[in-house]
């Protein structure tokens, strides 16, 4: 039984994993430098921000929703966090404030969707603009720069030779995987996305749990903001542009269905890594950034095409 459970849940991820390995093998042949420890760590580090945002996106998309505001929330959380640090609020409290800003933005999204009955696309599209505007207003459009080494350790430090962002990312993935597979929230996330009406009639408090999911997604954007701000040693009100699309791409490549009710955290991690490996590989090969965009877009389309073909053949 247990084994069957594993196969049903991760059969799809297996395919994506093979895709990742094939891609890596090709890059290794093309450029031997690809498969060095320092480059692999580099990839993981660069992937970490998108990977963390994509976790929240995965929850949201499994409920059959979408969150277009993650990039803007990241920017807003980042500038508030930077301000908090610079006015002398103790670092742990400042970090908490950064997370809270993300959480609150996410909860507002959730409330608009559940109580306001707005389609997620609309409410998060609005939030995308509101949070961006708030970030610009808050800083008068100027970046806030220069932080202590303690804070910057969150992006540039190493624990046992492993860069801190990677450790944070791994921690987030463990917790998220546990949430999705072992908790009530996880069960209800799938149920709401699979059939909202049936979930309501099964006694699931859909409004509350959906709001929580959007709150979680916003909070993870806040976490990503901490890492990004620490890495750049600067909080930019225009940070995080188009991050929502990268997160959606990682989620979808990872096998989460936009229709809802299906998806895994492991898949999303692989999806995010595929995007990271691809960017890194194209950089190593000296491919121009214009071409890179085109290649990455094509890979997204290609991945989903294959996924749909596989699903069809299973029927």
């Amino acid at each position: 039984m247990q084994q069957k459970d594993f196969l049903i849940h991760y059969g799809r991820q297996f395919g994506t994993l093979i895709g990742l390995l094939v891609l890596s093998a090709i890059l290794w042949i093309l450029t031997p430098y690809f498969l060095t420890v320092s480059n692999l760590l580099n990839i993981a580090q660069q992937t970490s921000i998108n990977a963390i945002i994509a976790v929240g996106m995965t929850f949201v998309i499994i409920t059959a929703g979408i969150d277009l505001s993650v990039g803007s929330i990241l920017a807003f959380s980042g500038v508030v966090l930077a301000w908090a640090i610079q006015v002398g609020i103790p670092l742990p409290l400042a970090l908490l404030i950064g997370l809270l800003v993300g959480l609150v933005c996410g909860l507002v999204n959730g409330l608009l969707i559940t109580f306001g009955k707005l389609p997620p696309f609309i409410s998060t599209l609005g939030m995308m603009s509101v949070a961006r505007g708030a970030a610009l207003l808050f800083t008068q459009g100027r970046p806030i720069s220069g932080f202590s080494n303690t804070f910057r350790f969150l992006a540039n430090g190493e624990i046992l030779y492993i860069p801190t962002p990677i450790i944070i990312m791994i921690f987030v993935y463990f917790v998220a995987h546990y949430l999705l597979t072992h908790t009530k929230l996880g069960r209800y996330t799938y149920a709401m996305g699979g059939n909202e009406e049936a979930a309501v009639l099964s006694g699931v408090n859909v409004r509350m749990f959906k709001t929580i999911v959007y709150g979680l997604c916003g909070m993870l954007s806040g976490l990503a903001a901490i890492i990004l701000t620490a890495r750049l040693n600067s909080a930019q009100p225009i940070a995080g542009m188009m991050y929502e699309l990268d997160a959606i791409a990682a989620t979808v490549i990872g096998g989460t269905s936009l229709v809802g009710g299906e998806g895994t955290i492991v898949g999303t991690l692989i999806g995010a890594l595929i995007m990271g490996v691809l960017r890194n590989g194209l950089n190593l090969l000296g491919v121009s950034s214009f071409v890179q965009q085109t290649v990455i877009g094509s890979v997204i389309i290609f991945a989903v095409l294959i996924d749909m073909a596989l699903k069809k053949s299973k029927k």
Binding site: K184, G186, R187, A191, L201, S202, G203
Partner: protein
């Protein structure tokens, strides 16, 4: 080849990976209504899907007017004059009736420009010839189920269908609408259209069918004239076991009052509802579609708020604010629409069974997965749910087994009151009996059941007491002994 038959299928086999869906099945169709009968999974749908071009046969031969043909795809089937109306209609809700009828074949003035006048006039002519009062300009979404079905029939006729396949056409229709449909089918016969008719409802087969072909487990069992065969014989051929009774009703000891409704009102749908429900009884609720039966169930379950009135559970007055509070009061609700409201199709059997009980299985939000697995395992065995395992997605289960999953999910919450809305709709005869036996077992255990049904034989066969609803009111109450089909219908239609 026998020239008398329009269509002949010889030794048709269809093999899916791991499953032989059809094993040397023969079928022939003349100028007649030919019933295709069998339990779920017997191969009826596979057979007609081969005819309609949705599936390709693995082997065998198909003859149309004595000529051997290969049906390549649905379009090809249409060109050959074979049309199919599925249980779930293929209509575009936001388009007009006429646009639906001619979808993909719209008359044009020049390439790309519609000839709207011709479109509406031809559609209206087909509808008028059919004798149905539908305006070709109305939007499909504004039509009732029966009318939508007529649009499907009109669409088939517009394709010059000579063979019309209908898959469970009456499952969502009221008695009057079924009569209308049958009249239409008889009319079609006169126009030279032969009909292949799939149904579970034995009663109607005798009314509309000329011959019947029975399939079981993908095998051909036999073809008979309807006049030469009896209901018990048909059932035996379908399930290969003698069904002593279609309704194996066993009485249980009637216990304490468990639910009472007092002067319950809901604007326009429920008026002055008063009744009590006792442990160990099945309370049947009959009434026409739109009489307020389903609304009553939804009100008790908290899916809809009532405007006024009192509800008592186990003697205590309660306020039911939503499904969660009803579940906490040990009330469960099996909706009439299993796929849209009862199940989460892309989740597993286990997850569906455990969904309303997740609370009970969790501590501080963390689910005890061992308890979930145990519960799912228990109910799969207890209710004999046919599934390859608890991790199978429920969408791949048959209707009867899906219904058992829903029953399990409520049993798992320790229900005292279980409301069944159309408990056996679209379920084959064998599984129906299993569901009834489950009901017996439940009431023997002290559960009270409210059973809403459009099928009077079911109401009469299983209820201890029967309420009849008409226009949101309880129009009559009968004990099982005094109730007859005529009395119930009389009340349901508003007679005193």
């Amino acid at each position: 080849m026998n020239k008398n038959f329009k269509l002949e299928m010889r030794k048709i086999c269809k093999i899916f990976p791991g499953v032989v869906a059809l094993d040397n099945v023969d079928f022939e169709l003349g100028e007649e209504v030919h019933i295709l009968l069998g339990e779920n999974g017997a191969g009826k749908s596979t057979l007609v899907k081969i005819l309609s071009g949705a599936y390709q046969k693995t082997s065998g031969q198909i003859f149309l007017d004595g000529k051997e043909i290969e049906i390549k795809n649905p379009k090809h089937a249409q060109d050959l004059g074979i049309s199919i109306i599925y249980q779930e209609f293929n209509l575009v809700p936001h388009l007009s009736v006429a646009e639906n009828i001619f979808l993909g074949r719209e008359p044009t003035l020049m390439p790309g420009v519609l000839n709207l006048k011709k479109l509406y006039n031809s559609a209206q002519k087909i509808l008028d010839d059919l004798g149905v009062e539908i305006n070709a300009r109305s939007l499909v979404k504004d039509l009732g189920v029966a009318q939508q079905q007529m649009v499907e029939v009109a669409k088939a006729l517009s394709l010059d269908a000579r063979i019309l396949i209908m898959d469970e056409p009456t499952s969502a229709l009221t008695e009057q609408e079924i009569e209308r449909l049958f009249a239409t089918i008889r009319d079609l016969l006169k126009k030279g259209v032969s009909v292949i008719y799939i149904s579970h409802r034995l009663e109607e087969l005798f009314e509309i069918g000329d011959r019947v072909t029975i399939l079981r487990d993908g095998k051909y069992i036999g073809t008979h004239r309807i006049d030469d065969i009896s209901k018990p014989e048909l059932i035996r051929m379908m399930v290969n076991r003698e069904l002593k009774e279609q309704f194996p009703k066993k009485k249980a000891a009637i216990g304490d009052e468990i639910l009472r409704l007092q002067n319950v009102e809901k604007d326009t749908v429920l008026h002055d509802i008063n009744f009590s429900l006792y442990r160990g009884e099945i309370l049947g609720i009959a009434g026409l579609l739109g009489s307020g039966r389903t609304e009553l169930a939804r009100a008790i379950f908290g899916a809809e708020r009532i405007d006024s009135g009192n509800i008592f559970v186990k003697g205590k007055q309660v306020k039911i604010t939503g499904p969660r509070s009803a579940i906490n009061l040990d009330i469960g609700f099996l909706t009439e629409d299993r796929k849209c409201q009862g199940l989460i199709l892309n989740l597993s059997v286990k997850e569906n069974i455990c969904l309303p009980s997740v609370d009970r299985f969790s501590k501080l939000g963390v689910v005890n997965r061992k308890k979930e697995v145990e519960a799912a395992d228990f109910y799969i065995n207890e209710l004999r749910i046919k599934t390859p395992g608890m991790y199978q997605k429920v969408m791949y289960l048959s209707g009867g087994n899906q219904q058992k999953v829903i029953i399990s999910k409520w049993l798992c919450t320790n229900v005292d009151v279980l409301i069944f809305d159309e408990p056996t709709r679209g379920i084959d005869v064998g599984s129906k009996v299993e569901i009834y036996e489950l009901m017996n077992k439940l009431i023997a255990g002290g559960v009270a059941i409210i059973m809403i049904s459009s099928e009077l034989p079911e109401i009469l066969g299983m209820s201890d007491r029967i309420l009849v609803m008409h226009q949101g009111r309880i129009a009559g109450e009968f004990s099982a002994e005094e109730a007859t089909q005529e009395k119930i219908l009389h009340k349901a239609l508003g007679g005193d």
